[in-house]
């Protein structure tokens, strides 16, 4: 296997661990320690993709997260992941990757023709055209635009990988493990506090990783790593990116494990989101190199000088034989010197008149050809760079042949995280870049991210903030002396602003979104001047790299066009995440069945084992219908209804909210909460109650039983249980703290089962032999608590179905046993379980309101419950119920409906009209709930109708235009069965 551009020695790669991978269906080779980018460059691959808009050929610009061009699709099938930067993807055996955004291929891309039409396609061109010939014509053009946009192609297959989330805490969080961060973690760790050090790379070291093997910088890194590793209280997280800084000193991290091929079946996660609450935060995120603006600066082979050095020294890639390094600062001289040391022919073009001390002499010794006060005008070449055109200021252009161009337009502090919640960036003229504004207490910045340029100063700052952060959290250990470096990297920046391209060809600012200097000029011409308008108009900085190499230059070009200072121009707001993160990682384990927690009744296992088909009811799973009654819900619920109407059935009602209310003032409390009176409810009795919100809409309904003078047992609807509990707690803790009442949710304490039907008493008599269940002893709305076989049983004679019925409550752990016992003992009576669908249907027949009627818009009167409201006491919602519109006659209120056309259907959601009126507008009401009535052998419904039961007996029209259905129905009392209550009292 040949790896043409791999140097035989040097680098931090492990030549003993060769790896093979597939790139665009070709098998290539690299080593452990490579990124996909370094491996591709080592294999001589220069053309890495096509640009977003003009489909220009592109190569790698950078070697890290700032990379705008080198996005690949990694993986196959369901694991296919588009738009992954090759520069941050660790090479692993068998990795499959391909280039994207070219048709038919990236090497020969037809869409590159758009480049010729570029003059028409300036920034925002689409706002000005595609409007004709008629309204809505955009829909004709849009599909082409959509197809042309987008980068990689995503799969529609479910992601097979596993993601997790984790909570973490630290006294000191250090973000970035370059020299500054290592020094900070070392100091804070020595002081004795809990430190977490995060590094996005798979190796610690940051800028030190780009130093040649064997150099003093490499030695320094080894020492720092060892120092930190020796501290047990310092947790080091590699391959972990700080995505965002949020309120409350919370930092969100993502740990990546793709390199280890995590197996979801073994519980291994591909990515883990860590929510870390930090005592203090140290930002040591370094700086990102800026590119330079000149014609065709996007030719493959034109790279940031720092990247040239990284590929050369860290990855042992011979990036070129004939190199041009162009710079406005000293840092790029290192790249030139290191390149020359490999035998490359290097020309260094410096915009300045001179360079830092000793650099000129070093260059001469190394054989680097240095030219001062020259500026790049243009890169030459097509799919790879073949040379450059450069000139002295106002001089004639000269050309140089080369196969790589390293550029450095200075460095911009990586301040993204600091601006998520912290200070606004301020422009530093000496630095010619933005740096963080003053930090809030407990936040620190150090090193290159603060604009510091020398290694020793960065180490000193790191050490100092590490010690300060430790003190801030109260750690008192001795931190000792800070680390020292032997060598010194070159310092010095040229504050000369980048000028707009003096040459020809496009000068790209934002490579990924194809934003050129001309686009900025166009934005200026049209008045999109503010940095935010510039961003939105040109899409600058909105790519996957968020313009990490582009934002400062673009702002500078605009500022110079406007003739204003950068401090006035400002910068756009940085948003999390710092680098893109899988949506799956954010979702963690809350996926599939676990999307939301599931609530199960005590009899759940029994239902599953006995043919129940379950349905969601908020967080609950409840039996919808049982297999014994039919194969479909439509067939089954009718059978189950018949069972209850003619014999006896049992239903699981454990999901009802249950609240224990007790204390000397419990009666007063309930009197205030409910619209109707509870204080005079005798012990041993229950009463149906309705409670209102402060705004007089109905909050909830349910039955409350009084077991003794000071003890009540409230039931709420399944849906509102949590709301009601919080509301009662509010009233007792905030509104009326003087009341001597304790409330507790006992929903989980009791299993509930409703036994209903004409034979319900017989059934329970069989289940509870020896307990007096006679009508005299336990009348309708009577309640009783007794011990049975060592278990407390609460028996409430209530009816939701309209039949003789009881609710049986036992402690949850014996719920299944009691349920089974009742079914077994009452088997001779033909008892069977019934589900939610028939439960809901039975109540429709009885005219009880439930979920679909209780939608927070309705008043007590709307639901036909106005008579319940006490006139002799105050209750919550009483006052606002008097507002004019709530008292208006003709409000939509509860009615029953019966179908008049037996061959047709009544449907929930139908809109109601008077006969003979036009079917348009909002109608006079609507249908909430529909059921087949076993009693009447027809479809019946509940609904709300203008004026309500004042129209009883009238024929109306139900419109369901979604199915083109119109049916006639009659308004009737909502109580379809047993209006006098004979059955429930039986």
């Amino acid at each position: 296997m040949t790896v043409p551009a791999r140097l035989p020695t040097g680098g931090r790669i492990d030549r003993a661990r060769p790896l093979s991978f597939v790139f665009d269906h070709r098998r290539l080779h690299g080593c452990a320690g490579d990124t996909v980018a370094s491996a591709l460059l080592a294999n001589g691959v220069q053309l890495i993709g096509r640009s977003f808009k003009y489909h220009r050929p592109r190569g790698f610009l950078a070697a890290g997260v700032e990379e705008p061009n080198g996005l690949l699709t990694i993986g196959e099938g369901a694991r296919c992941t588009p738009n992954v930067p090759a520069t941050t993807t660790e090479l692993r055996e068998g990795l499959f990757c391909r280039r994207q955004n070219g048709w038919p291929s990236v090497d020969f891309d037809v869409m590159a023709l758009t480049s010729w039409l570029a003059p028409f396609f300036g920034a925002g061109f689409y706002y000005k055209t595609f409007m004709g010939p008629r309204r809505g014509s955009w829909m004709m053009y849009e599909p082409f635009i959509r197809r042309a946009a987008g980068l990689g192609e995503a799969t529609h297959l479910p992601d097979p990988d596993r993601y997790e989330t984790r909570h973490a805490f630290a006294d000191v969080l250090v973000i970035g493990a370059g020299p500054t961060g290592l020094a900070a973690a070392r100091a804070a760790g020595r002081a004795g506090c809990r430190v977490t050090l995060v590094e996005q790379d798979f190796e610690l070291g940051g800028s030190l990783l780009s130093a040649p093997a064997g150099s003093s910088d490499a030695d320094l890194l080894a020492t720092l790593e060892a120092d930190v590793a020796a501290l047990a209280n310092v947790e080091v997280l590699r391959r972990t990116t700080a995505l965002g800084v949020y309120d409350g000193n919370t930092v969100v991290l993502v740990e990546r494990h793709d390199h280890a091929r995590p197996d979801p079946a073994k519980g291994e996660a591909r990515e883990v989101i860590v929510t870390l609450r930090a005592g203090t935060i140290i930002h040591a995120t370094g700086a990102i190199e800026r590119s330079m603006l000149f014609g065709d600066n996007d030719r493959p082979g034109v790279m940031l000088a720092g990247a040239v050095r990284t590929y050369l020294n860290r990855y042992a890639v011979a990036v070129g034989q004939t190199a041009v390094i162009a710079t406005n600062n000293d840092s790029a001289w290192c790249a030139a010197l290191d390149l020359a040391a490999t035998g490359a022919h290097v020309t260094l073009l410096d915009e300045r008149a001179g360079a830092g001390a000793g650099l000129g002499e070093a260059a001469r010794r190394a054989g680097v050809d240095v030219r001062y006060e020259v500026r790049l005008r243009r890169a030459l070449g097509g799919r790879s760079v073949r040379g450059v055109e450069y000139a002295r200021r106002d001089g004639a252009p000269e050309t140089l042949a080369c196969d790589v161009v390293g550029i450095s337009g200075g460095w911009a502090p990586t301040l993204h995280l600091t601006s998520h919640t912290g200070p606004k960036p301020v422009f530093d003229t000496a630095l010619d870049a933005f740096r963080p504004g003053p930090f809030a207490t407990g936040h620190y910045g150090a090193g290159a991210m603060m604009g510091t340029r020398s290694l020793q100063e960065s180490l000193d700052e790191g050490h100092a903030v590490g010690a300060a952060a430790a003190r801030h959290v109260g750690a008192t250990g001795a931190v000792g002396a800070g680390p020292a470096c032997a060598g010194e990297w070159p310092t010095g920046h040229a504050p000369s602003p980048p000028e707009r391209s003096p040459g020809t060809g496009k000068a790209f600012i934002d490579f990924q979104n194809d934003v050129t200097t001309k686009d900025v000029a166009l934005a200026h011409e049209e008045g999109y001047h503010s940095v935010e308008h510039l961003k939105r108009f040109t899409t600058l900085g909105m790519g996957t790299d968020q313009g990490k190499t582009a934002n400062v230059d673009a702002a500078k070009v605009m500022a110079s066009l406007r003739g204003i200072e950068m401090a006035v121009a400002g910068t756009t707001t940085y948003r999390p995440p710092y680098t893109p993160v899988s949506v799956g990682a954010l979702a963690g384990r809350s996926v599939g069945t676990h999307f939301r927690a599931t609530r199960l009744t005590p009899m759940h296992d029994w239902h599953l084992a006995n043919g129940a088909v379950m349905i969601q009811a908020g967080p609950w799973l409840r039996p919808w219908y049982y297999g014994w009654a039919g194969k479909t819900v439509g067939a089954a619920y009718v059978e189950e209804m018949k069972l209850v109407r003619s014999g006896v059935g049992m239903s699981d009602v454990s999901s009802l909210g249950k609240i224990d209310i007790r204390g000397p003032d419990a009666a007063i409390f309930l009197d205030r909460v409910y619209v109707n009176a509870f204080a005079k409810l005798p012990a041993g009795k229950a009463r149906y109650g309705v409670m209102l919100n402060d705004d007089a809409t109905v909050l909830d309904d349910g039955t409350t039983a009084r077991f003794d003078e000071h003890t009540y047992f409230m039931t709420t609807t399944t849906a509102q249980a949590g709301e009601v509990m919080s509301w009662l707690e509010f009233l007792l803790q905030v509104a009326w703290p003087e009341l001597r009442v304790q409330v507790a949710s006992v929903t989980d304490r009791w299993a509930g089962m409703s036994v209903a039907g004409p034979r319900a008493r017989q059934a329970l008599q069989l289940a509870f032999p020896g307990v007096d269940l006679s009508n005299e002893s336990l009348p309708y709305m009577g309640v009783r608590e007794f011990m049975f076989q060592g278990t407390t049983v609460r028996l409430l004679r209530l009816s939701f179905s309209g039949e003789l019925a009881y609710e049986v409550y036992v402690p949850a752990d014996v719920g299944t046993a009691m349920w089974s016992r009742i079914l077994a003992e009452a088997a001779p009576l033909g008892i069977r379980p019934y589900g939610l669908e028939s439960l809901a249907s039975l109540r429709i027949e009885k005219g009880h309101v439930a979920g679909l009627e209780l939608d927070h818009r309705n008043t007590l009167e709307d639901l036909g419950l106005g008579k319940m409201a006490s006139k002799s006491k105050a209750y919550i919602g009483r006052e606002l119920a008097t507002r004019a519109n709530l008292r208006r006659p003709g409000r939509w209120s509860l009615v029953g409906l019966e179908l008049l056309e037996p061959t047709k259907k009544l449907r929930g959601g139908s809109i109601l009209f008077n006969r003979h009126e036009a079917l348009e507008g909002h109608g006079r009401g609507y249908i909430t709930s529909v059921t087949w009535s076993t009693e009447h052998q027809k479809l019946i419904a509940l609904g709300l109708f203008e004026g309500g039961l004042a129209h009883e007996g009238e024929e109306i029209v139900c419109a369901y235009p979604l199915r083109n259905e119109i049916v006639r129905a009659r308004i009737v009392s909502p109580m379809f069965i047993d209006p006098t209550g004979e059955r429930v009292h039986a």
Binding site: F52, P82, R147, L151, L586, A587, R857, R907
Partner: protein, 420 residues
């Protein structure tokens, strides 16, 4: 050098091939001492109001005052959805009017706002929920608005990559589809209205913060600003996210709390999702932009704040919804999330119209729905200002409606303060 002002393909060609230049999209005038109408707030609603005042009511001596840069508020921070699937009387007609204005907006403004009517489906996860949607769909049909009911099988055919599996926590039961719903390029709306209003003589004044109001008894006669005093015949407040703050300058308390709503976008990918999908199990909506990013959002963070940044746990619950709805979303990567300050009202509906002060009008409290309402709000508010009488489409949105018990609760969620 010729200045091009009208947008067209031909003009683009002229710009490309000759030495012509574009005229500025809008001027940058200094404020005059007085105007017939001042609109406080240079967002989508304020600019639309100014445009319709000038174009429909002939009132051109108008200033729009913007504290920051034009369109810096919610018009540029939303998830760009437009639709007219509303249930309540008043809402149905208002939002349909808005959608109809959207449909003609690019032509009207000579600015392509890229209305993309690729449709929206709202999903139901149970029979009861489908009935609620059916009621809405039937109401829409009865008001001449397009709506289609989809059964489970229809949804499976239409969007096979949604989670229809047995592992799904909240199985999809059906949905309500509106073909005419879709998305609009949000920034273009602000710019298009600004440019068109500017052409009609409206002064759009950026970096001009209102710091107080001029009063003559119960009449508002102008504003104090960071760029001086400006007199006005009539004044309208349209400052979503800061409504309470501005109203407080007049001693008014509003039925509004400020909350954060976050929005999310993934990296751009090739066409993946062709319509807008709204989850039914929780508040969550998603679409794909023309640039290729998946744009989505969910609930407000759930507490009073003026910071334009969201809380991370909300980003997590929203991501959970994304994956629950479209399992393949898991592998896509989130590019950015950001927040906008949203006026939340007790019934989820806004307030537009007159105020207790003469010659002062307010437009506030848009909750989740401000963007899609932009054209109709501008239309109706302009009418209200011009005639000093509420436009018929907004009579149900009066500022004092709750005193009369006229709450307008489109979603039946009740007082939002107790329902986070």
């Amino acid at each position: 050098m010729k200045l091009l002002s009208r947008y067209s393909g031909l003009a683009l060609a002229r710009r490309a091939l000759t030495d012509s230049r574009w005229q500025r999209a809008w001027r940058s005038p200094d404020p005059k001492p007085s105007y017939d109408v001042i609109i406080v707030g240079g967002g989508g609603h304020g600019l639309a109001t100014a445009y319709y005042l000038a174009s429909r009511h002939g009132i051109r001596n108008v200033a729009v005052l913007e504290r920051g840069y034009l369109g810096s508020g919610n018009v540029g921070r939303n998830t760009t959805l437009v639709r007219s699937n509303y249930l309540m009387p008043g809402n149905t007609q208002f939002f349909e009017h808005s959608l109809q204005l959207w449909e003609g907006l690019s032509h009207e403004l000579n600015f392509n706002v890229m209305l993309s009517q690729r449709g929206q489906i709202v999903l139901a996860h149970g029979p009861g929920q489908l009935d609620v949607l059916a009621r809405k769909g039937n109401t829409m049909r009865l008001n001449g608005i397009d709506a289609e009911l989809m059964e489970r099988e229809d949804v499976m055919r239409f969007l096979p990559f949604l989670d229809h599996s047995e592992h799904c926590r909240f199985p999809i039961y059906g949905g309500l589809f509106q073909q005419r719903a879709g998305t609009v390029r949000h920034d273009a709306v602000a710019w298009g209205y600004a440019r068109a209003a500017d052409r009609l003589g409206v002064d759009i004044i950026e970096n001009c913060e209102v710091t107080g109001f001029l009063r003559d008894g119960d009449r508002v006669t102008g504003v104090e600003t960071s760029r001086g005093t400006i007199h006005a015949g009539r004044t309208a407040i349209s400052v979503a996210g800061h409504s309470s703050h501005v109203a407080a300058m007049l001693g008014m308390r509003l039925p509004i709390e400020s909350h954060i709503l976050q929005a999310f976008v993934t990296e751009p990918i090739k066409p993946f999702l062709d319509c807008v999908v709204s989850f039914g199990a929780e508040l969550f909506y998603i679409s794909q932009s023309d640039k290729g990013g998946m744009v989505f959002g969910g609930h407000i963070d759930g507490f009073n704040t003026y910071t334009q940044r969201g809380q991370f746990p909300r980003a997590q619950t929203v991501a959970e919804c994304a994956v629950a709805l479209i399992p393949a979303m898991s592998r896509l990567r989130l590019l950015r999330h950001w927040g906008g300050i949203q006026d939340m009202t007790p019934d989820g509906s806004p307030f537009i119209g007159r105020t207790p002060f003469r010659d002062l009008y307010i437009n506030a409290g848009w909750c989740y729905q401000g963007f899609k309402a932009t054209p109709a709000t501008g239309w109706c508010l302009a009418h209200t200002i011009a005639h000093d009488a509420e436009h018929p489409l907004i009579r149900h949105l009066a500022l004092d409606r709750h005193m009369a018990g006229n709450g307008h609760d489109e979603y039946g969620l009740g007082l939002w303060t107790y329902r986070q």
